[in-house]
Subunit: 425 residues, 2 copies
């Protein structure tokens, strides 16, 4: 038993819209434990739509169509499905009445175009649309094949799915199981290194474990299938525990956690405060920290010392150091961190100085060279990173720069996180 | 001749991610005039992927695969395609070398897993990945069938598409017609108001004009179809000119322009400098300004005065004003702007103070109330905005906060832009 999505609409093939309906339905299938192996997108064209139906009806038992139910002449989904199964269309007086009533409520007149929306294949039930004019249908054109159609407008599709389709599918024996999942999040380890460490988990069948990587962050997704959400969670818990044990401090959180939210929780627990000094990230670190609601309890503020004069005047960075070793150096990072910590009177001071690119790099100080400074009540330390290389250059001006700024800010948060964890609360 | 997209990834079938790659490629096909009738999504499963290849290779001449090129054991796209066409895999020493070099640059060791990424079907060319470790391929497994593979990471896929795939496809006779388009960008006018002003353009056939709205910004997209890019641009130019004349200062730029890049150009032309003071945006304004490469010529830095003590100590904001009218007020915004301008010794000082939410709002000062201060060589002014209301609340906690922070920073840049334009260079 499996379900397939057929999204109908030339606007999808032109790239005018994102197929958010397919994502919503896919999430719903996962939640309901309905197996789901293929999705197809096809335009408003009867012959091509028929060929998609031929392929899909051959490999799935439940076909979900979205789009092409409107009143205009290029809305062809219902009549094409009926034609494929050689079934005549019949006018449903209930639909005519429903549409006429909805138009009357809005003070409008129903047009002849709308009458087309009242036609369903013989034997099909109406899938009522409580919000718009286009109804869908529920139809079994042959044994072991169920077809549900929905309009393409996401708000209408979702209401119809939740209010009518889900109860119907459950009554037919679909959606008895649940797939729950949990995503562990990592910073400071590459996807391939993490994959080697936890390779033995990738062969598990239930739950499954799979790695993902995105913008410098690596994730492990644990997914379990069971009769209920609780039972699925119970399958996930021991695997999560083992994975956390193996990966240790590289795992910074799960699901909705971010590096900034985790650091915020640690600072709150320790009743500590934080100030920051940013050069090459220009405000990105502060933006990440203050994206967290409630960050005002531990974040006091910071100084964006983009120009060297500001580093000297507002952070007390040694002018000699700026001249002799340059702004992108361990010593300047440390002076920035210590300077902002002293001036804003906080427990911690965190700083970033580096070369975001695309210009400004040299042989000894290439684009992507970044120093992170950390001033604590006990000491001041710094860390060197090289985020650039071929990467920063090849991505072109904006991409490379954005990448260096983003991973620099994340790495600064990660260094503070590691230090807070080592220190204990 | 037509192209098809096969998106490979269980994360798509689970609804974890939106298929933005398919939308990007669909837009590209439209731009290049390449016919495109079907898209398929399939999981990381060799048998199902083979069945998708069987269907697609039967109806299209160009197959574009995204996803499944990574180093882990569930990345199966390349080997499955080779297997489908009964072709052996061969290790490409150039890829091994390229990956080893990329790892060395980042100070990391290449793992055995990565070696798998060097295997391509016999006869396939390497589609180099300038940004990540996973290369793709260009392969003609049989006459009249071309296969291109890309990693699923959107940033990598897009660079490879634009730098390598598009020139290759054009050299092979694909993409001879062109749809060119130009997007005009607006700030400070609503979509419906703009649509009313330029309604008469929406009926044009070639070029077409269509409005879009996204995150507080409104855009007008002008698209023309012609035999060449130059011919399409010639159709667009007069329409753009008319639209700019009608919309005036509300149109801040086109295509890749951002408010920050436009402000940067104006500051550069005027040989002026800028400093900023941020409260509720916490670094977001600085991040937008320093996202622009070369911003160091006009942007000196700023102060993130998240806590009131920092506003007083580092910006010289009057403690009495903070107590009596509160930090979210016109007078504090003005003192912040004047304070940062004086301390960082710049031509302009720009400030933001407000309530980003979701907490902290009151009846008189609701979430979304924001003051922007602007200190010039001549005077200090401020502007009041209300970004919250039903919007901030309806969008839910996190959306609301992010939205208020984003539109606040954009509005600050827009106020400076308008002032710079009024003043002339």
């Amino acid at each position: 038993m499996s379900a397939e999505i057929i999204s109908v609409g030339t606007e999808l093939l032109l790239g005018d819209i994102l197929n958010s309906n397919a994502q919503f339905l896919a999430q719903q299938f996962a939640e309901l434990g309905i197996p789901h192996y293929f999705q197809t997108v096809v335009g408003d064209n009867p012959e091509r739509l028929k060929s998609a139906i031929a392929v899909a009806s051959n490999r799935a038992d439940l076909l979900i169509f979205t789009g092409g139910l409107g009143p205009t002449s290029d809305d062809l989904t219902t009549e094409t499905i009926a034609d494929f199964f050689s079934t005549p269309l019949i006018e449903k007086p209930e639909i005519v009445e429903d549409i006429a009533q909805k138009f009357a409520q809005r003070g409008r007149q129903m047009t002849d175009n709308n009458r087309k929306q009242a036609l369903l294949p013989e034997g099909a039930q109406i899938l009522y649309n409580p919000v718009g004019s286009a109804p869908g249908m529920i139809w079994q054109p042959r044994p072991n094949l169920t077809i549900l159609t929905f309009p393409g407008v996401p708000s209408e599709m979702k209401v119809m799915w939740q209010q009518i389709a889900v109860p119907y599918l459950k009554s037919q024996g679909w959606g008895q199981a649940t797939i729950a999942s949990r995503t562990l999040r990592f910073w400071g380890i590459s996807e391939s290194m993490l994959a080697e460490k936890v390779a033995m988990f990738f062969d598990l069948q239930n739950p499954t474990v799979a790695p993902y990587a995105n913008l410098g962050e690596v994730k492990l997704r644990i997914s379990a299938r069971a009769a209920s959400r609780n039972a699925a969670s119970a399958l996930i818990a021991p695997v999560e525990q083992e994975l956390r044990q193996i990966t240790g401090i590289d795992c910074y959180g799960a699901d909705e956690d971010s590096l900034a939210s985790v650091v915020g929780d640690l600072l709150t627990a320790a009743q500590s405060t934080l100030s920051i000094a940013e050069s090459c990230t220009g405000g990105r670190l502060g933006q990440m920290i203050t994206a967290i609601s409630g960050s005002s309890t531990y974040f006091m503020g910071g100084i964006i010392s983009y120009d060297n004069a500001v580093k000297a005047a507002l952070l007390g960075v040694d002018s000699q150091a700026l001249e002799q070793v340059g702004a992108v150096s361990a010593i300047v990072a440390e002076q920035m961190a210590a300077g902002v910590r002293a001036r804003l009177n906080t427990t911690w001071g965190l700083s970033i100085t580096g070369i975001a690119g695309p210009g400004g790099g040299t042989d000894t100080k290439p684009v992507g060279l970044v120093y992170i400074g950390l001033a604590s009540p006990e000491d001041v330390t710094s860390f060197e990173f090289r985020f650039g290389g071929s990467c920063g250059v090849a991505l072109g001006a904006n991409r490379g720069r954005d990448w260096v700024q983003r991973v620099s800010a994340c790495s600064a948060l990660d260094q503070l996180r590691r230090r807070l964890l080592e220190r204990g609360v």
